[in-house]
């Protein structure tokens, strides 16, 4: 083999709608690789892959089979293992989504190669793959080096590698191939999915989050209104979830989701260590809390000491004005 550094990216999609995280992964791949191959496992050979090329793929390989109607780690791992024998990449890059982390852990074991999950930095230094990953839910960062047989597996935390995005001028190859898959019907059985239109907190660029200071479940309506104006997702602290005011998938913190949005608006959240662990790497943090000594203010870029129930509706109005005025 030559010493070109080749990265394989696995396209994450939901019924052939490509997930935004895939473009982040492509963006990260493009900045360090000589060659980027994107594998698109689909039940449909005619999917539109032009955005993947614009996003940084030098080659898109559409591997189609009716068993790819929904993601399962079994089908993806089997296909990926067979494909990389042909392409011999140095690195397989995925998003640190629930599916990405699962597939990466499976592949690393099947190939007996190194894995680093949920990385926030990825560098190639004198041929070595160096990553930085949050540990203790972001209370510390671990800089690591991968070694041993290749390809390495790395998953990237969503929202960190957005870069400058796609470029229409990029060109690349598209290859389509119908591939065979082992019969997993005994294991996979019947699979049903329920995915709403709601934005997932890990994928949102703006998050409006509520804590016990919101006082009652009905007051989350204020947060939903603000979120709607901002195109944001609504999140919550743990006791809010434990009280049943919000679903668990909205819980941010050490035992919930870890998020890194551009803007995190914490409303009536005290800022316990476990909560901070899940959100303190957000780019801009706004805290609204009636207690000027609340620990959340120690991580806030902008603090508002006051009653969230009064301030949030005013914010909704102001943002609506601003966004309405200037389109």
């Amino acid at each position: 083999m030559d010493n070109k550094f080749t990265i394989v990216v696995v396209v994450e999609h939901d019924q052939n709608a490509i997930k935004p995280v895939t473009f982040e992964v492509l963006n990260a791949a493009r900045t360090i690789a000589d060659s980027v191959i994107a594998y698109y496992f689909s039940d449909n050979a005619e999917v539109d892959v032009e955005p993947l090329i614009q996003g940084g793929a030098d080659e898109v390989k559409i591997c189609h089979n009716s068993d790819f109607a929904s993601y399962t780690h079994e089908t993806y791992a089997a296909a990926l293992k067979a494909e990389i024998e042909k392409t011999q990449p140095d690195l397989i890059l995925l998003s640190a989504s629930n599916n990405g982390k699962e597939l990466a852990a499976e592949m690393a074991t099947r190939l007996d190669v190194g894995l680093a999950t949920d990385c926030v930095d990825l560098q190639l230094s004198e041929g070595e793959v160096i990553v930085k990953r949050p540990v203790f839910s972001g209370k510390a960062y671990s800089l690591c080096r991968l070694s041993g047989a290749k390809p390495y597996l790395v998953t990237l935390r969503p929202n960190i590698f957005r870069g400058e995005g796609t470029a229409e001028t990029r060109t690349g190859n598209v290859v389509k191939e119908e591939i065979n898959l082992p019969d997993f019907s005994k294991i996979v059985g019947e699979l049903t999915r329920e995915v709403g239109a709601e934005l997932d907190v890990t994928e949102a660029r703006i998050i409006v989050s509520g804590g016990l200071g919101m006082q009652a479940p009905e007051n989350f309506k204020f947060l939903e209104d603000l979120a709607e104006v901002l195109g944001a997702a609504v999140a919550a602290s743990r006791p809010v979830v434990d009280n049943g005011w919000q679903e668990y998938s909205h819980q941010v913190g050490q035992t919930g989701r870890t998020v890194s949005p551009d803007l995190y608006i914490a409303c009536g959240i005290s800022g316990a260590v476990q909560h901070l662990a899940g959100m303190s790497s957000s780019r801009c943090i706004v805290a609204i809390n009636s207690d000027p000594h609340a620990p959340i203010f120690s991580v806030a870029d902008y603090g508002i000491v006051g009653d969230a129930l009064k301030i949030v509706p005013l914010l909704t109005k102001e943002f609506k004005n601003i966004l309405g005025d200037q389109g």
């Binding site: 997930k19 929904s70 780690h73 629930n98 982390k101 699962e102 852990a105 690393a108 074991t109 007996d112 190194g114 894995l115 680093a116 999950t117 949920d118 160096i130 949050p134 540990v135 972001g138 209370k139 510390a140 960062y141 671990s142 690591c144 080096r145 041993g148 996979v188 059985g189 019947e190 699979l191 049903t192 999915r193 329920e194 995915v195 709403g196 934005l199 994928e203 660029r205 703006i206 668990y248 050490q254 035992t255 919930g256 551009d262 803007l263 316990a272 260590v273 801009c284 706004v286 203010f297 991580v299 806030a300 870029d301 902008y302 603090g303 301030i311 005013l314 914010l315 943002f319 601003i322």
Partner: protein, 263 residues
């Protein structure tokens, strides 16, 4: 049903941490059972309540202090505990940890393996899936519901995905799941449970008990090597906005648009 539960001891989630000599330390903070592993132990205990002829064996690897965490699992209702303990196990990465666990688990028969979704210290989410691959059994990660059929031969398994969930119907045993919040409410050990745990034995297994070659158990065989630990960058000091509520709302909206350029 023979149920294996893998648990890890981690630093208390409330701990503030420091870095000393390339290690995370938190003087005075307790160690706890990884919160996601509590869901795994609880689920096993609930299955046993429904199917009393079940047997629950918990496994944990680590230093002597791990015995406390194993005792907690016994007090919650596990029947047996196995402590994988050997100086040779120190400093190994998750791929090697999974290999050791697999070797220990393969020493007996099993129907179900339960792990936590990830450990809240290294946050890798690797050992569960790796273990399933090594044990050559199917696995499902991030599980929020495990609904067994009446004869406990198959289960409908709900898994969290971004923005929703998916269900696998009629999965046949054996399989491994990694447990997520939502699966159950872990119990606090009762006094009776704590007393009963005192009578249960914790079995020690070393590398040689497992027939593991010393050559394998060397941090040099790790595939992920830590170069440096650091604390997160300090956030720049924030600004407290002043004025009437209306003023503050206006100021913030302007800042977010014009200075932060987020919207």
């Amino acid at each position: 049903m023979k149920i294996i539960v893998c648990i890890k001891q981690v630093l208390d989630t409330a701990a503030k941490i420091e870095i000393q000599g390339e290690k995370v330390v938190s003087p005075g903070s307790p160690f706890i059972m990884n919160p996601y592993d509590e869901f795994a132990v609880e689920e096993a205990v609930r299955i046993k309540a429904a199917l009393p002829e079940s047997e629950i064996i918990v496994f944990s690897m680590g230093p002597d202090s791990v015995k406390e965490t194993l005792k907690r699992a016994l007090a919650m209702g596990a029947d047996q505990a196995v402590h994988l303990t050997d100086p040779l196990f120190e400093g190994l990465d998750n791929s090697l940890v999974a290999k050791i666990l697999a070797k220990a688990i393969q020493k007996q028969s099993f129907d179900l393996v339960l792990c936590g979704r990830q450990a809240v210290d290294d946050d890798m989410a690797q050992v569960g899936p790796a273990l399933a691959v090594l044990l050559e059994i199917p696995f499902i990660t991030i599980v929020t519901q495990l609904q067994f059929s009446d004869n406990f031969q198959t289960a409908d398994i709900t898994r969290q995905v971004e923005g929703g969930s998916e269900v696998r119907k009629n999965m046949s045993l054996p399989f491994l799941v990694t447990c997520q919040k939502g699966l159950n409410e872990p119990r606090l050990p009762s006094l009776k449970g704590i007393m009963a745990a005192k009578k249960k034995e914790i079995q020690n297994l070393s590398a040689s008990d497992l027939g593991l070659e010393e050559g394998l158990l060397n941090p040099r065989n790790n595939k992920l090597h830590e170069i440096k630990l650091s604390l997160p960058p300090e956030r720049k000091k924030g600004i407290i906005l002043e004025g009437s509520d209306e003023d503050i709302a206006k100021q913030l909206a302007t800042i977010i648009r014009e200075e932060e350029k987020i919207i």
